[in-house]
């Protein structure tokens, strides 16, 4: 099987999962207490509105018709209407998505850039002070609730030293890109962006940094004890290549699998990190929608979150297949 066919196959499987996600979210209207109308209408809606909604959703129709309607609406990009906010759900959700993606990517960058060198260092200097330090740091990292870490970061860096912003997203990464072509002074915009994103990115990224450090360390120790490492050393290959090209490559293959599985944790972590830093992303939207019982918005958000998860996992599998081409043949 070629790389392209493999990616195509995984994409089709991913579509199947997305279909499952949509079905589960559709089913949510029936686990809501009371009538399915409650899942859409505001609590204080009068009888007339309720009937109008029931008619629009086709609640008087047989189940399969409702389902067909729901899926075909989604395919047209229609996620329903929030009667509470008086807005289209799709517009609302997609307006919030970029902020969450930006936060998740920034956290991943923080996590990956720090963890892999730390894990390698820890494994190659086993039982030296740097290894003990990395072990304790990563143990703390996987054990610390990220919302509390966020609050502590605010306490130290914002309250005590007043270095960073602690609330909102005043400047987004798009502004930084625009400043590159001269709309605004670049350095100033970049610093302003960093002032907003640094603390949330650290709060969200720490768990992953710790997790990847642990996985990299144990994986590297495993790989460095294998015959091919000794053989590579025996043929005189520079240490850098033995460690990074040979051992780290094989270490990262299982690490990537675990990361794909842990992606849900990243998105879940983003929800709560957004709550701490009032970050205007999907996570705050989910919380707001539950607190206001705005089920159409909740359903739309769940579909977007589920679909993003599937999309990134297909991407992860493609990277996996690129790193270890034998996967394609299995």
């Amino acid at each position: 099987m070629s790389f392209g066919r493999f990616v195509l196959k995984r994409s089709l499987q991913g579509l199947g999962v997305v279909w499952g996600v949509v079905t589960v979210v559709f089913a949510l209207r029936f686990v809501t207490p009371g009538s399915a109308i409650n899942a859409v209408a505001p609590l204080d809606a009068d009888q007339e509105t309720r009937q109008a909604i029931a008619a629009e959703l086709g609640l008087d129709q047989p189940l399969y018709v409702q389902y067909g309607q729901y899926v075909s609406d989604l395919l047209r990009g229609d996620m329903g209407f929030s009667y509470i906010r008086g807005q289209e759900v799709a517009g609302l959700v997609f307006a919030r998505l970029p902020a969450t993606v930006e936060l998740a990517l920034a956290a991943s960058v923080v996590a990956i850039v720090l963890s892999i060198p730390l894990g390698v260092l820890s494994a190659t200097r086993r039982n030296e002070p740097v290894d003990y330090g990395a072990t304790l740091l990563s143990l703390g990292g996987i054990s610390t609730p990220n919302f509390w870490l966020g609050i502590m970061l605010i306490l130290v860096f914002a309250v005590e030293f007043d270095v960073f912003n602690t609330s909102g997203r005043g400047v987004d990464v798009g502004d930084v890109a625009l400043s590159l072509i001269g709309a605004e002074p670049f350095v100033g915009t970049l610093l302003a962006w960093l002032a907003y994103i640094t603390l949330p990115a650290i709060a969200l990224g720490t768990y992953f940094m710790a997790l990847i450090t642990r996985l990299t360390r144990s994986g590297m120790l495993d790989e460095l004890s294998k015959g091919y490492v000794q053989a590579a050393q025996a043929k005189g290959l520079p240490q850098t290549l033995v460690r990074y090209k040979h051992a780290l490559r094989n270490t990262l293959i299982p690490v990537i699998t675990v990361l794909g599985l842990q992606l849900g944790t990243l998105i879940g972590g983003a929800v709560i990190t957004e709550a701490v830093f009032s970050w205007p992303g999907l996570g705050t939207l989910v919380i707001e929608s539950i607190n206001t019982r705005d089920w159409p918005v909740l359903q739309g958000s769940l579909i977007v979150i589920g679909t993003s998860f599937v999309f990134v996992n297909v991407l992860v599998d493609a990277v996996y297949a690129y790193l270890d081409p034998q996967v394609v043949n299995d």
Partner: protein, 339 residues
Amino acid sequence: MVSARVIRNLKTEFRNSALAKIGLVLVVGILVTAAFAPFIAPHDPTEQQLDQSELPPLGFSETTERTTSQMVDGEIQTVTETVEVTPDAAHPLGTDSLGRDMLSRIVYGARTSLVVGVLGTLLAGLVGVPVGLFAGYHRGNVDDVLMRIADVSLAFPSLVLAVALIGLWGRAAVNVPDPFVVAGLAPGMPESFVLPITVVLVVGLVNWVWFARVARGEALSLRGQEYVKASRALGADDTAIIWNHVLPNAITPIIVLGTVQVAAIILLESSLSFLGFSGTTLSWGFDIAQGRDYISSGQWWIASLPGLAIMFSVIGINLLGDWLRDSLDPGIEGEGGAA
């Protein structure tokens, strides 16, 4: 299976690992704290003493601005003065904004965390392990369906799914009488413990899939073993084979996963309480949410101390998990589920 070899590995690994010892001490400490909370807590954790509010922990003093209003010549005058708040030995870890004793709240918070963590893990295991064993043992369609359900289930982050379900189902809680207080051994303590039952249900249901995956993997590899084949040839029925042969041999990785899951669910519970999606107000996450509003006015301890409690509990359980993993070597990758 728990053989003599397993016990020996556990002992050797424990002797050689300082981290395993620290883990055991932390976990035993938390278990004792949770079980005997009424005797350890110096105060009723829910008792409000407004005249004792916002006291700092021992060793710290705090200057704060107090605004008082008084009638002077028939007019209300507000006076703002800077006062020095000194700690009180009766409240070694200070008090929160309502004058509740922080130490007592942290002690009682251990109960909530541990009970939700253990019950949620048991529920997740009770759902996930049979499903996983059954699917892995039978393969075919059952297995395909399970794996697709697992894929869909994984696509929803635990926290998001839990928040959504609690949002839909409400925040039910049941009052469980505290035997020590009912028996009159610990007067002045709360008579019942509030068990956030929806939270237990939800964390169990969102995490079952990790158990299903591990159990399935074990069953897949065990079904090819000779003794399983032999039992089948002898006409034993499948349930009996799974129960007598597959489960005992799959138990080691399930136990290691269970340990890690307790830690993950404690983190998940604290996140839910922090966001206000819990049925109890006696929880570390809830206190952190309360204390968050006070960090900019100087009362750092209200949010900080419960977080340290979470961190040390989870570190302890993770160290215990590492110890089990290193001595039993079940070869499961990574850690499943988390906040």
